[in-house]
């Protein structure tokens, strides 16, 4: 059955999952725990923090975050393409070139709009 070719891969997967599970929890089993109130306090270089930790943040962080996600996803598309780069020949190059061109236009627009400037 074609399935048994994948038996080793399945076993490997199981071992991997079991190993990570063991490693993560071995310290929880053997390690000491005494979460005193002072220990679970907020650490701010040894002083008492002023103000809540969760607060309204400037929108700049969100803008940079979104732009990063956008170009990160673009890189994900490059990975499978680079594996079969030789066999696709010129056709593959043209398609990915178009894909990159579209995103580069987006980059130039946002650069000129000043979204990358921090102030």
């Amino acid at each position: 059955m074609v399935l048994d070719q994948f038996a080793p891969a399945g076993v490997l997967l199981l071992i991997a999952i079991a190993l990570t599970f063991i490693i993560l929890n071995i310290s929880r089993v053997f390690g000491p725990h005494n979460p005193t109130t002072r220990k679970t306090d907020a650490y701010e270089s040894g002083m008492a923090p002023i103000g809540p930790a969760v607060r309204r943040l400037p929108v700049k962080f969100y803008l940079v975050g979104v732009l990063f996600i956008l170009f990160d996803v673009e890189v994900i598309f490059f990975l499978p393409w680079s594996v079969v780069f030789r066999d696709l020949g010129f056709y593959g190059l043209a398609v990915m070139g178009l894909f990159t061109l579209i995103l580069t236009v987006g980059l130039i627009y946002e650069w000129k709009k000043g979204a990358l400037e921090w102030e």
Partner: protein, 422 residues
Amino acid sequence: MAEMTAPTTGPTTDMSQWQGSLDELRGLVSDRAMTGETMLLNMGPHHPSTHGVLRLLLELDGEEVVSCLPDVGFLHTGIEKNIESKTYEKGVTLTDRMDYLAPMSNNMAFNLAVEKLVDLDVPPRGQVIRVICLELTRIQSHLVWLGTHAIDMGAMSVFLYCFRERERILDMFEMLSGQRMMGSYFRPGGVWRDLRPEFLPALEDFLDYFPAKIEDYEKLLTSNPLWLDRTQGVGIIEPDVALAWGVSGPSLRGSGVNWDIRKAMPYSGYENYEFNVPLGEHGDVYDRYIIRIQEMRESLKIIRQAIDNLPDGPFRSENRKFVPPPRTELGQSMEAVIHHFKLWTEGFSAPDDEVFVAIESPRGEIGCYIHGTGGTMPRKVRFKTPSFMHIQAIPVMSEGHMIADLVGIIGSVDIVLGDCDR
């Protein structure tokens, strides 16, 4: 397009729980902190890049520092109060621990003040040995500054190189005084004992070995685009603002003010060495960096000139009223035994008057003010230290910058908290 109405500001964060500590800061930080719009963050006593136990209460608008409130005193050990209950000779060991990166320049300030108070002269050999040790201390202090400044900004390897060279200087100090850092090698009247025979050869090959190492640091950092972006145009302080805030030393020369106490008011024979004083133009972090690298080269030049004409003769003044006689003399003369006994039990007495002496420590102008009581213990010893004024000036340089630049600014003014809190 429809006119964009300003987004209605939702309920600002509820700050009632921290009202107590907010009221204390009422006048010091801007009012946006009171409503919780800007974040109050403690870049506190335990922080990797504050070069000691300095606490900066930062008011942050996102990444940008709106206002910065330094709080010092976490290393105040009452050195000046302790010296008041010690004789002048015993007080020297306490001054080592003040600016622990340049122990010998604190010694120098204290000893010069004592010598001026009791009008004690230092023989030429003693003065030249002092100049050699001061310049070695300057190089060693600049090496620690460069190492920590670079590692704060991410250049890890520079730290290891700088400390490797520093070990050679510490070995030389150990030859002189038996202690790597806190040698208490300078005493009122000169130095504690003569140069050891193996000191000068070790110093000779350090002088041949070290210039190439400064080239390495320059190769690593000076034309490194990352370093240039992080340091050029950051933490600018204009000359008149720097003078008004009492900044001194390489940080002041970074803004272009040509004031080096070794040139302006030479002490311990600095007038007969020729060296030039590097100056910056913009007063930013990069200029202060370049100046200290140049200063290391100038110190090498001074040491070279000092070694070439090292006079022989006594290394400490022969005036037995203030300087205990060497042990060999104790066997021969009765006066020596009397002087020895008096100086080591009671110490010498100084007039009931005041004296202020300032010298050029690696960080800036360190001044020592001594007021005698007529007896053997001082009435008041006060050290004016450069790091004290530089920490006070950090907010002036850092408002409007980002936190990452603040780290560079702290590194560039080269502060040591023992120096600031005494």
